[in-house]
């Protein structure tokens, strides 16, 4: 069975757990799934085995604590330590896919915004692209996305196995980060001076390139799935 099917089955089966067992198991599940360098297939298989075991035990009146012990984090760490690592091969295409997807959306948005802004302004909006400022802006966006992923993962990790964790506080933290990152990207695009070599890149060329790139990334994902 593929990892995706196992995840769906896991979601359904988890509903049969008592609230106490559900909390205990779900914390371990999220904690193990957050380890992105581990084999997804193997992780989902062992998570399913643990869930089946817990459900069988629950029917005999046992709790998750009876089965997996009093230290869920320590237990999950032991599982993680023994799971095989995913080959780097599938991590790099994953990140490349995100970066190219982001790039394709930016090109398409640019392609739509330039003609609309020109209409509203009643004059042509410059469609020149300055190489260095554009690269810098893109780097800032990628950087804040990467930092955001890391930061939100950290918030989630800290909330696991923690009775005192406050969901509201975590939401505020994530919200503040989102606002700051957005502000940073807007500030960079507004105040970035124009320098270095530039070239003309019309709105329709931008839209077309973005669309083609998006399609390529989309097809590549499908293609990859077929080969797995």
């Amino acid at each position: 069975m593929k990892a995706k099917q196992l995840i769906e089955e896991n979601n359904k089966k988890r509903e049969q757990l008592t609230p106490e067992n559900e909390k205990y198991y779900s914390d371990m599940l999220i904690y193990i799934r957050l380890q992105l360098t581990l084999s997804e297939q193997q992780s989902e298989e062992v998570l399913m085995e643990m869930l089946d075991h817990l459900l069988d035990g629950q029917n005999e009146g046992k709790s998750a604590r009876d089965i997996f012990g009093d230290d869920p984090k320590g237990y999950a760490d032991e599982i993680i330590q023994n799971l095989p690592k995913e080959q780097k091969r599938s991590v790099i295409p994953f990140i490349m896919g995100i970066v190219l997807n982001l790039l394709s959306w930016m090109l398409m948005i640019r392609g739509v915004v330039i003609p609309i802004a020109s209409q509203l302004n009643k004059e042509d909006v410059s469609s020149s692209v300055y190489l260095y400022p554009t690269l810098l802006t893109f780097a800032v966006i990628i950087g804040s996305v990467a930092f955001g992923v890391w930061y939100i993962f950290r918030i989630i990790k800290q909330s696991l196995f923690n009775e005192k964790a406050s969901e509201k506080k975590d939401m505020v933290k994530a919200g503040v980060f989102g606002a700051v990152a957005m502000g940073l990207v807007i500030a960079v695009t507004m105040f970035m001076p124009e320098f270095g070599p530039s070239f003309h890149f019309s709105w329709w060329a931008s839209l077309l390139t973005g669309g083609v790139l998006w399609l390529v990334v989309f097809l590549f994902k499908k293609f990859e799935v077929w080969f797995k």
């Binding site: 069975m1 089946d52 997996f68």
Partner: protein, 110 residues
């Protein structure tokens, strides 16, 4: 950790391999069988990290199969390497058990 669970930890891999050699089992069955054999100190969850490690080292192989009660379960089979490893563990164990047993002979055991 009690002395008994420390001793058990060292030999648990061998015990798990021995149960799987008799017939393919899935996790829950395995923990039941270990307890039936009298190894009640093995808390149920302990077997999953062990199964993962044995799998990673190629000593056992997991296969999804329909269980007696119906739903699919991951059944573990012993590989050739696993068989060789179990033979080795059993002979190492023998070399410890016999002298220790002789040494302890005649003591009042309860």
């Amino acid at each position: 950790m009690s002395l008994r669970s420390q001793l058990l930890k060292g030999i648990l891999d061998g015990c798990v391999l021995a149960v799987i050699e008799k017939e393919p089992v899935y996790g829950y069955e395995l923990s039941k069988k270990l307890q039936e054999f009298g190894l009640s100190d093995v808390s149920e969850g302990t077997i999953y990290p062990v199964l993962l490690r044995l799998q990673k080292n190629g000593l056992i192989r997991g296969e999804m199969q329909p269980s007696e009660s119906g739903p699919n379960r991951k059944y573990y089979h012993l590989t050739e390497e696993g068989k060789a490893s179990l033979d080795m563990i059993a002979s190492e164990w023998q070399q410890i058990v016999e002298p220790v047993h002789t040494l302890f002979k005649g003591r009042n055991l309860q």
